[in-house]
C-alpha cells in the first residue's frame, strides 16, 4: 500500500499517525509540506529512521526543491522522485491511503 503524507510533522500529527498505522509492506511518499518529515537532525528524524527498517520512504522532488531543500538535507536512504515517479508508485502499489 502507498501512503502519502502532505503535512509538516512539526505542525500536525499526520506523519505520526501514518507511522503508527502502516503495515510493514507499505511505502510512504512525502509531498507538499510533508517533505519536512524527511529532514535530518530534527525532532522527528529518529522516528522516521526507525520506520525505515520496514518501510521504504520517498519524497517528492518538486516539493522539496520549492522549499529550498535537496538530497543533502535529508535522512539517508530516502529516495527523491518526480511526479512521474509519484504516478508509478500509485501503480506499483494496489492501494492508496492519503494522510491529510
Amino acid at each position: 500500500m502507498l501512503h502519502t503524507v502532505n503535512k509538516s510533522p512539526f505542525e500536525k500529527n499526520s506523519l505520526e499517525t501514518c507511522l503508527r498505522l502502516i503495515d510493514e509492506s507499505s511505502s510512504i511518499l512525502l509531498i507538499e509540506d510533508g517533505v519536512y518529515g524527511a529532514l535530518k537532525n530534527t525532532s522527528v528524524s529518529d522516528s522516521v529512521i526507525n520506520a525505515q527498517k520496514t518501510t521504504k520512504i520517498y519524497v517528492l522532488g518538486p516539493d522539496l526543491k520549492a522549499r529550498g531543500l535537496d538530497k543533502s538535507s535529508l535522512i539517508s536512504n530516502i529516495e527523491v522522485i518526480d511526479y512521474k515517479g509519484f504516478v508509478n508508485l500509485t501503480i506499483e502499489n494496489e492501494k492508496i491511503q492519503n494522510w491529510l
Binding site: M1, T17, K95, L100
Partner: protein, 127 residues
C-alpha cells in the same frame, strides 16, 4: 447510480475520519458521502482515528453556535446498513475518553487491528 448496481462490483470501502467535528466541515460532509455511498451496495466500514473519535461524542448540542448537529446522523447509519464502525483504542485513551462517552455502538480496536483494517480495504476516503 443504476449502472453501478448492475455492474455488480463490490469493493471494500473504508472511510477514515481523523478530524474533530464543528471546527471544520470535513466530518459533516464526509458523513454525507457515507449516506449517498450506502445506496451503492459496497462493503462499507468507518474508522475513527485521532480527533475523529470526537465526532462520536455523546450529547453534542450545536444550538448556541447555530450550525447543524450532524452527530445525530450516526445513530441513523444502521438504517442505511452501515454497521461497521471502528474506533481506535489509543486515540480514545489519549483524549481521556472511554466507550461510554460515545453516542453509538462501535467496535473499539487497537492500533494493530486498525492497521489490518486499513490494509484489507480497497478504496479509502480521507476528508
Amino acid at each position: 447510480m443504476e449502472e453501478e448496481l448492475e455492474s455488480g462490483v463490490v469493493k471494500k470501502f473504508l472511510y477514515i475520519n481523523r478530524r474533530a467535528p464543528h471546527g471544520t466541515v470535513y466530518a459533516h460532509e464526509a458523513l454525507e458521502v457515507v449516506l449517498i455511498g450506502a445506496a451503492f451496495e459496497q462493503d462499507v466500514s468507518l474508522a475513527f482515528i485521532d480527533d475523529g473519535v470526537f465526532q462520536l461524542k455523546k450529547d453534542q448540542d450545536t444550538s448556541e453556535i447555530n450550525t447543524k448537529n450532524f452527530s445525530k446522523i450516526f445513530s441513523a447509519l444502521e438504517m442505511y446498513d452501515v454497521e461497521k464502525l471502528y474506533v481506535e483504542k489509543e486515540s480514545l485513551e489519549l483524549r481521556g475518553l472511554t466507550e461510554d462517552d460515545l453516542s453509538v455502538d462501535v467496535k473499539v480496536i487497537d492500533s494493530a487491528e486498525m492497521k489490518k483494517l486499513i490494509t484489507d480495504s480497497e478504496v479509502i476516503f480521507n476528508f
